[in-house]
Symmetry: C3
Subunit: 258 residues, 3 copies
């Protein structure tokens, strides 16, 4: 049995570069890729010295959805289908959501179905002007799993999620910028540079602050409220990073957090 | 006693066309119309063979608000006022929200007060470029009822809801597109065609998937979380519709869900 | 000990004008200013005859953040840091959120960090085209406190909050309008006039309706749901304001709520 598709992760200094790859299928997510996505993000969460993650697809596309060639093997059995969505897909997405490092999506070409779900679990999203977005799975005869739909609704908004799921509509990057899903749209040839500039800027920011912001924003996104989050929210008071940031500002010099 | 205004419902194959009509009042909602709106959506929910609903107003306007001529009869008595909002208005809106069919709003002219509330309970919203939106009921000396305000906040966003309710501001279609309330704005003469194209496309999608998506999106909109929704989320595994969608994709032919 | 910075409040008929002032620091919020902000809003909430509040900054800027010169005094001690955020900052912001009067922000120049937080607690936000927005505190080595981040997420959206907190990105007024944070962007020389026009229009609206709308919108923003809010929602039925609004409409004359 050949394993269809792969998720690569390359460590480049303080930066992890995650890349979706399923040759000839616009990086459609196979079951192996979902499991690999989970393993990679669990690993990144535990590595020391990392500051940022970027997620992109190989060959001019982000991700076109699920790897439908695999579907007849398991989708028509209820418990296998449940295990696929709740364990494999949600396993991958929840590992992204639980990662304390900022995640930047670099989106070219197709960003459909599973691609929308993965992009929705990134913190910052940049896309090329020619990227296209949708979740036309109503053409495939099935609904989006609720946990996955919740992420698309959170990131793309209810109006857009309903239009994609109930109308199978595909939207372009300019429209998705207007809908509040994208931070920036760049011409195709400038996208990689725009993403690299963001990443470079982010690696000079305070790492502990990023982790704490991610934890607080995650609690808010989950609807957990702020009471629990607040308990440990001020332990950073006496940290070197906190002292350095304020000292550098007052001395009018750039901070050195590294 | 004459009954002011009517809500019509015409069944056109798999499509239900709901039309608001209150002659000379830009389709302002009378009490009879709210009750009729509820009866129609309860009926649509139980009919077999329907795939989509569209809601529009007669005569170049969507709906200008409530039928104020009726207000002196009941609004100054607390229990009558409560019954109006909690039973009649909320009865109509909640029947829309509880409908498992996708609902497309076709909005021309005035979309004010009750019109904003009804549009907020649709899934997809198209408007003509000359449509105008607001909820200037602070001029009428009363606040929006909380359940109704919750729908406007959900659909139009807090910023816009506050501006409409606290500032009595009226916004045009382009602005409401930018605010995330509208999926599409079309020139007046192209609006009906744009809506019909959407509906036609939607009737070719998987009906069971649409119903399940609507149920999951409703649970999310209510803040119910996904745990309960997830229990039944995979019963469609062995369904004909699911098999057909995937088989058609792999055979590179259009699916036949009908 | 000199007290750095001040918050002024001027009563102008039915209008309260709150002004942030910290000379030479673009109105950065000192601890005294946060306490003063709280005292002012608690006082406004209890005054009779007020209809609206506007918040602006002195000298061409809204607010550039916190007064960092004060930070070494207290930020490196956990309990002092907690008291600052939970009592002083949150004291000020929560007094704004608890105010039943509509609050209009008039934003020029820098709107950063604490400025974003204060603006997020206003109901309606107008800005000059040259205003700039961000929360680049990751450069200062610390995260945003969770209760404060919750307000920025609510008002600016998750995408923008994450970009500001994790990327230290600064955005201009046109971008923030597109992101759904601003109701209106005006050329610098027209901003004050645009704000005054809004305020003037708002003072002619029904005061009791505004208060009740603010209470319902606050409950929704807190995620309290509508059941509790609904209990008292119809006590206004027999009020003079309600009768006047409807009588004026039916008589085709402007209402007189004052």
């Amino acid at each position: 049995m050949t394993v269809a598709g792969q998720v690569h992760c390359e460590i480049d200094g303080a930066l992890a570069r995650v890349c979706l790859f399923n040759d000839g299928k616009f990086n459609a997510m196979s079951r192996a890729m979902w499991r690999s996505l989970r393993a990679i993000f669990l690993d990144l969460q535990n590595q020391q010295g990392l500051l940022c993650v970027t997620v992109r697809g190989m060959g001019g596309h982000f991700c076109a959805g699920g790897d439908i060639a695999e579907y007849p093997e398991f989708r028509f059995n209820e418990s296998a289908l449940r295990a696929f969505h709740e364990d494999e897909v949600w396993g991958g997405l929840s590992a992204m959501l639980d990662c304390d490092l900022p995640i930047v999506a670099c989106i070219e070409g197709h960003c459909m179905g599973a691609g929308m779900e993965i992009a929705s679990c990134c913190d910052i999203r940049l896309a090329s002007a020619s990227a296209r977005f949708g979740a036309p799975i109503a053409r495939l005869g099935f609904p989006m799993a609720p946990r996955e739909a919740a992420q698309v609704v959170r990131a793309a908004g209810e109006l857009t999620a309903r239009e994609m799921l109930l109308g199978a509509v595909v939207l372009d990057a300019a429209e998705m910028k207007g809908r509040g899903f994208l931070n920036q749209v760049a011409p195709q040839e400038e996208l990689v540079h725009a993403v690299e500039q963001r990443l470079e800027g982010m690696t000079r920011l305070a790492p502990q602050a990023a982790r704490m912001n991610k934890q607080a924003l995650r609690a808010l996104a989950r609807g957990d409220g702020v009471s629990a989050a607040s308990l440990d929210s001020y332990r950073y008071a006496d940290s070197a990073e906190h002292r350095e940031g304020i000292a550098a500002f007052l001395a009018k010099r750039p901070p050195q957090f590294g």
